[in-house]
Amino acid sequence: MPAWTQVPPTAARTPRTDVKRARGVAIAFGHSVLSCTAVMLILATAVFLALRLLPGDPAALVLGDESSAQDRAVLRAKLGLDASLPVQYAHFLRGLLTFDFGESIRKPGIMAGSRVASALLPTTELAVIGVAFGAVFGITAALLANGPWLGEKKHWVNRVLVMVAATPLLALAPTLTFALAVRTHLLPLPGDPDAGLSGLLFAGSLLGLPLGAHAGRIGAAALSDIADKPFLRVARAKGASNLSVWLRHALPCVMGPLVTVLGTQLGALLGGAVVIERLFERKGLGTLMIEAYFTRDLPVLEASICASGLLFVVTQAIAGALHAAVDPRVRA
């Protein structure tokens, strides 16, 4: 038998490769957990230092300049600001671990952590819808830009993607809201208490639009790199439909870059969530953070910034693990 007729040994799916794969994913996950902890620690330490090291008495910030020295001393004792800096930091870190930042100053009796916990859900909903919309939009656009469905018009997809990606969310969101909600009444107005699900979906998809445009550009470029590869020609020759060629054979190869883009855009997504919440007057982490900033509710401010950091870190870790799950090179 000539050598070329022999089928090369394929990587058979044995229990052993499964274990290796799972271990690889676990290691990648461990790495991302480590770097995520570092991000979290930097952010938390920045809040801690910003409120304590920079000039100005936090107690005077809270109570105003006219407050008496005695009142300030009482507040300082309550916030634990009278201890030495290392002691305060240790206390702060312990609070960070148990998510106990003390009582809210403006709403006495309510823990800062619980105010943040109740704001976490709306923001998570918004972010999840944003990421989901971004992923679907990006993948669809990337497929349309390369597949045969649009014919010669497919070059327009890339142009539109470039334009959407270059338009800041800050300019895009209010304009689209004006066009869709005020002019055409297709959607509820921002701040409408009866907006409900359609309001949430609209806000979430606005948030996901820039993300989707970035993912679409990267995905389209990656797909066009592999468009002429032999394995796709083989699939076509075996009679696979266009949809099956692009969805089943081409798309899995570009999942890595797509997941990476989603991961790197998460920080921008959180910043965008603050803007979107402000625009639609939605309750959430961003609104709480800004409110705490203006009312000088320091425990709530610390807690909400740490919570957004946590949200960022967790999603980042998920993105890292997803990347390892779809791309064996990351696992190694």
């Binding site: 770097s35 570092a38 991000v39 930097i42 952010l43 920045a46 809040v47 910003a50 409120l51 920079l54 100005g56 910030l61 270059a166 338009t167 800041p168 800050l170 300019a171 895009l172 209010p174 304009t175 809201t177 004006f178 005020v182 107005l189 921002p190 991961g263 790197t264 998460l266 920080g267 921008a268 959180l270 910043g271 603050v274 803007v275 402000r278 625009l279 961003g286 953070m289 800004i290 900033y293 203006f294 401010l301 910034i305 957004s308 950091g309 960022f312 980042q316």
Partner: protein, 265 residues
């Protein structure tokens, strides 16, 4: 040569929008010396007219004047911060790549970590310490993370450059590390850095406007984000305010991105 002529024309065309935008804003601020927040309550939320070309905002402030001032101050902030970022990040990244070894690994890892950092969140964190941020505070808050993309870029580009023969040759001729960096590596990084300068400046324009939009405006309250804030509040009464705000944010950020590509071939 027609080729280089064409390249020059492309460069000028890419710089033109930013120059035009900043130039017109500058002329407008010179032409009407009054403070941008001068109020004229009778004209509040007025649509565009001969007296107020872009209409009037809250309390009758002339929108065109506010946009001009906000554009100038915003672009100055963006320019300062992105130049600072380049001045710190580029030498850091290039030096780390030339030194190789542990330094390179550490700088590279730090950049990876900070690259996906929620910088908007970080800015709010830093600003939490001041009662009402001035433009200097905003600049510091942005500058803390602005150097990262420059360092990353310089690191990646220098990794390619360092093994090329002209670098090897001058090293063999006895050039010091500093001379290699200054004479051979940095000049080759310039066009890439220019693109990143544009992108960073655009991001800072948008970041400053976004902070102002959610309420963290600099203490003079002259920002494109403040116009957007007014515009959202008056979406039904005076939609022009919203559109003017959104368009000027878009125009300034995209013209900065385009200007950054002027040095690109």
């Amino acid at each position: 040569m027609s080729g280089s002529k064409h390249a020059t024309r492309t460069r000028i065309l890419r710089l033109a929008p930013l120059v035009l935008l900043v130039g017109v804003s500058f002329v407008l601020t010179l032409a009407s010396p009054q403070h941008p927040e001068t109020l004229d309550p009778s004209a509040a939320w007025a649509p565009p007219s001969a007296a107020h070309w872009l209409g009037a905002g809250e309390g009758g402030s002339d929108l065109m004047l506010v946009v001009a001032h906000a554009t100038l101050r915003g672009s100055l902030l963006a320019l300062c911060v992105s130049l600072f970022g380049a001045a710190v990040g580029v030498p850091l990244g290039a030096l780390a790549a030339m030194m190789r070894g542990r330094v390179e690994a550490w700088v590279s890892r730090t950049c990876d970590l900070l690259q996906a950092f929620p910088s908007f969140l970080f800015a709010i964190t830093v600003l939490a310490a001041v009662r009402s941020p001035t433009r200097l505070h905003l600049g510091i808050a942005f500058a803390l993370t602005a150097w990262v993309p420059f360092a990353r870029l310089a690191l990646a580009e220098t990794r390619v450059l360092r093994s090329q023969s002209f670098i090897e040759a001058s090293r063999a001729l006895g050039a010091t590390q500093a001379r290699l960096l200054g004479r051979h590596v940095l000049p080759n990084l310039m066009s890439t850095i220019a693109v990143q300068l544009g992108a960073t400046a655009a991001a800072i324009v948008v970041g400053e406007a976004a902070l102002a939009f959610v309420g963290l405006a600099s203490s003079d309250r002259v920002s494109l984000g403040c116009i957007l804030d007014q515009g959202v509040a008056s979406m039904l009464r005076a939609p022009t305010v919203l559109l003017v705000g959104a368009l000027s944010v878009f125009a300034l950020s995209s013209s900065m991105m385009l200007a950054g590509r002027a040095a690109d071939r």
